[in-house]
Symmetry: C2
Subunit: 240 residues, 2 copies
DNA sequence: ATGTTTCCTTAGTGACTCTAAATAATCTAG
DNA sequence: CTAGATTATTTAGAGTCACTAAGGAAACAT
């Protein structure tokens, strides 16, 4: 068997990327419904069933494309996070959040595709590339929150004030992330995550068009809230 | 021409409802992808193209079904709102919010369909039945907020502290709702709306499965936050 | 040079959306 | 009560989709 750098393997990788790019272009230009096996194959110059030598079917193709989007989004956030290594954790967190929205607004079709996948639950198998990429994406803000918690702990609610069932779930989640955050801190993290993610979700799904035409200041207001919740200084958008 | 209660018209309405029910059953039992023109027609006992005499195509059928879901959701919220006419506005608002989540969790497929429609943006024409039903849905909490604002004004941010572009949009929205809320109050309303809607969005799209298995206490925590923001007394879930 | 693996094509199946034409049922007018 | 218009529904068919199967051609290994 040839090594991983064999000529064939290289060609195969190139074709995979070409397929990936074609699918993305199709998505951006004509919407998610246009991303069909046949259409993608046509774009890369091969006809129909040839694509089945690269992906087992439509779902797997969709999953691979989605994973790529997640990776790109995570990379953008990681880059923003690491752009100024010496800066306070809070600033780097705000930068990562803004990078998330920047990617989302620069690539609305891709961001929408991530959530409202034409086929929502199928590729949610915990071993899929999509799942791994999604984990990496979720990890970015979690890591920053952990760092913040270690260096400059934020205020947390009294665990006794939380409902018992919520406390149990938080304890389980705290264990799932290796105890890097205690349950109360995990609650704060998840609350922030929900607000951030939910807002972008709604923006991208156009659920707020009835009230807002430009979501940027709304997003900044949300960031201000989150900064307050995390006890960190809110510094306005970089170019404002 | 016959009156609106002609026999034919009645038959047609009955068929429309039958189509509607068949589509919904298909959605619930086999997922959104199963809601095809052919499958729906088969279920109502007619074959294929006959359905085109009731809907111009797949998109219109989807839109009609979605509008029905919106109406049902709005009705459930209105019923909760009006269940205890003498109760404080705050209690009735919490009841309406809980009714929203109750409907969403009782009909996850339908609620998910509302957002991640197989065909997202096309039937977003401002004159469609879907759009009107969505407006009615949005109106429920808006009405309650207006009532609250008139009877027991909630704290609002200083307009001078808001970014100019946000202020402009809020002014426009305030005008769009007939000035029933001033821009600052509209901002509070929209913030609450975004948090509520965003949370349910994420729950239904299973974006929080990585941390929570039971979202009910999370939702109640959110309600508690919103109650605080609106300056009203939080009263726990009715049956807890 | 031979055999194997990989890639890609054509052909074909069953499903889908939707159009067109023909047929059956129903209502309306004289 | 019958003739014509309207409506409901059917079958046929075009075009596309996902996917399978079978075969040819190229690249690879030995």
């Amino acid at each position: 068997m040839s090594a991983s750098t064999g000529r064939r393997e290289r060609l195969r990788q190139a074709t995979l990327e070409e397929i990936h790019a074609a699918a993305r272009k199709l998505l951006v230009e004509q919407g998610s419904a246009a991303v069909t096996v046949n259409a993608v194959a046509r774009r890369v110059g091969m006809s129909g069933p040839a694509l089945y030598h690269y992906y087992a079917g439509h779902d797997e193709l969709v999953g691979a494309v989605t994973a790529g989007f997640f990776r790109e989004l995570a990379a953008a956030m990681e880059q923003a996070r690491d752009a100024r290594p010496g800066a306070p954790t809070g600033d780097r967190m705000l930068a990562a959040c803004r990078a998330m929205r920047a990617w989302a607004t620069a690539h609305p079709a891709e961001f929408g595709w991530i959530f409202a996948s034409p086929i929502a639950p199928p590729d949610r198998r915990p071993d899929s590339a999509r799942h791994r990429a999604a984990l990496r994406f979720e990890q970015v803000l979690l890591d920053l929150t952990v760092e913040l918690w270690r260096t400059r702990p934020f205020p947390v609610p009294d665990p006794a004030g939380l409902p018992a069932s919520l406390r149990e779930q938080l304890t389980a989640y705290s264990a799932a992330i290796g105890g890097r955050l205690p349950p109360e801190a995990a609650h704060v993290f998840l609350s922030c995550w929900i607000r951030l993610y939910g807002l972008l979700c709604m923006e991208v799904l156009h659920q707020l068009d009835f009230a807002y035409t430009d979501m940027e200041p709304v997003f900044e207001e949300c960031l201000r809230d989150l900064a307050a919740a995390l006890g960190l200084a809110y510094s306005g958008p970089p170019d404002a």
